[in-house]
């Protein structure tokens, strides 16, 4: 039976069929849906959202040490967080199969950088598999687990946005469980990486690499498709699909398992074609190696190293390869489109974060931001975020600026899930090292940006079980922060008053701004607002909230009743009371 599955759903299906019993991860676009699909097999796979990716990988590794098959999922930047266990797990190896799914985001649809995860495979000396559609995404999970057990190594399964979020047909199979019983077998020289045993681990990793190269040359997922021999293309992952569209006549060496590099296969292919082209997304990972083998090739001279590849981008590469400056446009239309208004994502109407950004706009402070919906607070008209680096940096960087003598007061802002992920250590630092920053946790009780995943503060798990809800106030006090206060971000006056006291204090403050994500709870806060056109003086103050329900631009603004969530911010800040509402009858 075939089903239409996204790459992420196919990976979850692959984990199910291959007998995975533990799957852990932290949400991050484009990887999030893997665990959301895996949890549809609750009787077969234990699934969890861990507080962060380091924890997730350690949980999966612990499972694999007992002989169980395990999966850890994360986005590319998540592997940076999990890099510490990864580098040593490459030495210890595993017993049960361990596949680490890492989803890259070329083109940065929803990411703060564009790193190429393949480097981690070479860095850690472990295999990396790269599916090019959903069927391969499913199949490569089983392949990765087999390789992992056979060579006692963690294996990376790398997807990209266009594999994770594309759907294609997948042949479904039955679930098979490994015969090996679960049970950790004591063997310190394998599982205890003290220098005495880490040195032989290092040697074993190198020996393993040689064996992996041998298998990479023979695996059916690395295969040559001979067509016209004038041009041969080495490609992998999703670019393979674009190559087949744009260079239908070319011979192709498709690498499903790019590292360790299958040198013999690459040589055989190169010898069989007149010209060799490497088509890979992001860095010249394969190309550099092909050149190191002494093989001449084209690659990043015609294929961009920045951003996503697409069929259109490859058409340009094809033109360049043929010595033309650019491929002709497919369609020419006489229509003006260069002046179309942009439509970036915005904080939703009624979003609790809006009240905080509005209030922060009243102070001359530096705001260190973090990863989540509230990063949208940087865009005009709110424009109230000054830095964004990585998860947790909103807390620690505020402290660094403060200690450097930044003349303005510094405020850090981050969400609840991000706080649990890596904000706590920064807060501990501020309390311990006598900082004076104000840290605002915008607590909407969910991981909103990635689609509402539960976390340690939500009171329930990924598998739907009830669990204690962690108190951010309690953590703040336990870290040593004396001034811990929670506020209602829809109350403009009180929010301003609390922020004023916190910001101008000589002590650190933890302010918890509490309001649910309306997309998550799917409710309105009040009746839709109405704008009285007679009273309105067109001062534009309400439009500075950047609320999508307030439509302006020409003349008197208009409240779109379909979009208005009735949060009441606009009527509180209107200087002439031109905004009111009709109380709704209780429904």
């Amino acid at each position: 039976m075939k089903e239409l599955l996204s790459g992420n759903e196919a990976i979850a299906r692959g984990a199910y069929e291959a007998g995975v019993t533990v799957a852990s991860g932290y949400p991050g676009t484009p990887s999030t849906e893997i665990l959301e699909a895996a949890v549809r097999f609750p009787d077969d796979i234990y699934c969890e959202w861990s507080p962060n990716e380091k924890v997730a990988l350690e949980v999966a590794a612990g499972a694999a040490f007992t002989g169980a098959r395990a999966l850890a999922t994360m986005k590319h930047v998540g592997l940076n967080v999990a890099a510490d266990p990864l580098m040593t797990l490459a030495g210890t190896g595993v017993v049960g199969g361990l596949v680490i799914v890492v989803a890259d985001d070329p083109g940065m649809h929803s990411s703060q950088n564009e790193q190429d995860t393949r480097h981690y495979a070479r860095f850690a000396r472990i295999p990396i598999l790269e599916p090019s559609d959903s069927q391969e995404a499913k199949d490569f999970v089983a392949l990765g687990l087999d390789l992992s057990e056979k060579y006692r190594t963690p294996v990376i399964l790398r997807t990209v946005t266009r594999v994770s979020h594309s759907r294609s047909l997948v042949e479904l199979g039955e679930r098979t469980l490994p015969e090996r019983p679960v049970g950790f077998e004591k063997e310190p020289s394998r599982f205890v990486a003290i220098p005495l045993w880490a040195r032989p681990m290092r040697v074993r990793a190198e020996e393993r690499l040689a064996k992996l190269i041998d298998e990479a040359n023979r695996t059916p997922v690395n295969r040559i498709q001979w067509r016209d021999r004038k041009l041969g293309i080495v490609t992998e992952g999703i670019p393979y699909q674009y190559v087949r569209e744009v260079f239908p006549e070319a011979s192709v060496l498709k690498l499903g398992w790019a590292y360790p590099f299958p040198d013999a296969l690459i040589r055989e292919f190169a010898e069989g074609v007149e010209e060799l082209l490497i088509v890979e997304e992001l860095d010249d990972f394969v190309e550099e190696h092909v050149r190191a083998l002494g093989i001449a090739c084209r690659g990043k001279d015609v294929v961009p190293r920045i951003g996503e590849l697409t069929p259109d981008v490859l058409r340009e590469s094809r033109a360049k390869l043929a010595g033309e400056s650019a491929s002709p446009p497919s369609v020419v239309r006489e229509v003006k489109t260069d002046d179309l208004p942009g439509r970036p994502p915005v904080l939703c109407s009624g979003c609790p974060h809006r009240g905080i950004f509005h209030a922060l706009g009243k102070f001359d402070v530096v705001v260190t931001g973090d990863i989540g919906c509230y990063s949208l607070g940087v865009l005009p008209p709110l424009s109230r975020l000054d830095t964004l680096v990585c998860m947790g940096a909103g807390v620690s960087m505020a402290h660094g600026m403060d200690k450097a003598g930044e003349p303005r007061r510094v405020v850090g802002i981050l969400g609840d899930s991000t706080f649990f992920h890596s904000g706590i250590t920064g807060l501990l630092d501020i309390a311990y090292n006598r900082g004076a920053s104000t840290i605002i946790v915008v607590d909407n009780r969910t991981t909103a940006m990635t689609g509402h995943q539960p976390h340690p503060g939500t009171g329930h798990t990924l598998m739907g079980q009830e669990t204690p809800s962690v108190s951010i106030e309690g953590i703040g006090r336990a870290c040593g922060i004396k001034n811990v206060v929670s506020i209602d971000p829809y109350d403009v006056k009180k929010t301003l008053a609390v922020l004023k006291e916190a910001i101008f204090s000589d002590e650190p403050w933890l302010v918890i701004s509490r309001g649910p994500c309306l997309l998550d709870v799917r409710q309105r806060l009040g009746a839709p607002r109405r704008l009285n056109e007679e009273t309105c003086r067109e001062c534009g103050v309400c439009l500075k909230l950047g609320c999508p329900a307030l439509e302006g631009g020409d003349g008197v603004p208009h409240v779109n009743p379909m979009l208005c969530a009735g949060c009441g911010l606009c009527n509180q800040i209107c200087p002439v009371d031109a905004i009111d509402w009709e109380e709704e009858a209780a429904s």
Partner: protein, 213 residues
């Protein structure tokens, strides 16, 4: 490269000719992803290989949303190339113009007449063009311009506007009626099947009316 390579580019177009590409555009929350799922399922029911693509993450936050579906005997890329789509469906005027490059010269554009003002306009950074309809008519030689929200509201649920647009799009997609019905039934919640089927049929009627003009 030699002239033979340049000739091969004709082969590229030929290779694509049996793959049908569809693009859907709109604003987060309008049901673009559901509409694309229905196209994909209908093609699947009709026995084709199918690939779709969409971008998640930001999609619910009021930003521009685009979804793509490709089907045929053998489909490689999930991404549609410029000038390749046989149908472009849009639930918002500016979003239709934004994605016009995907549509083939002889392709059909189905555009709902909604104008959703983005925050960039409300905050004075940009202007919403006041001649969108004229631009749409100039851009697309085959255009079905319809107030899908009004039609859907008349049928009982304004949220079914996406199915009105889809119904009109289906007039230019060679998939059997039963495949569409089956796809709709499988993709929407049971309580919404009836209104969605009606909205789809209404869209089809709009298309036949438009073509008769």
């Amino acid at each position: 490269m030699s002239g033979e390579q340049a000739d091969a580019s004709a082969g590229v177009a030929e290779n694509r000719s049996d793959t049908v590409s569809v693009v859907l555009a709109g604003v987060g929350g309008q049901g673009i992803l559901l509409a694309s799922e229905i196209v994909a399922r209908a093609a699947m029911v009709a026995g084709f290989e199918v690939k779709t693509n969409e971008v998640h993450g930001m999609a619910q936050r009021g930003g521009s949303v685009i979804a793509q579906v490709r089907f045929g005997q053998e489909v490689f890329s999930p991404l549609v190339a410029r000038g390749e789509a046989s149908v472009l469906g849009a639930l918002e005027c500016v979003e239709a113009l934004r994605q016009h490059e995907f549509l083939a010269a002889d392709g059909l554009a189905v555009v709902s007449s909604q104008a959703i003002v983005p925050v960039t306009v409300s905050s004075g950074q940009a202007v919403y063009p006041d001649d969108v309809e004229a631009r749409l008519r100039a851009a697309f030689s085959r255009l079905i311009y319809v107030d899908a929200v009004e039609k859907a509201t008349e049928l009982g649920n304004h949220r079914a506007a996406n199915l009105v647009v889809l119904g009109a799009m289906s007039s230019s997609l060679d998939l059997p009626d039963e495949a569409w019905q089956e796809a709709i039934k499988r993709s929407v919640k049971p309580q919404h099947v009836e209104v969605n089927l009606k909205a789809f049929a209404e869209g089809r009627r709009c298309a036949s009316g438009e073509q008769a003009e």
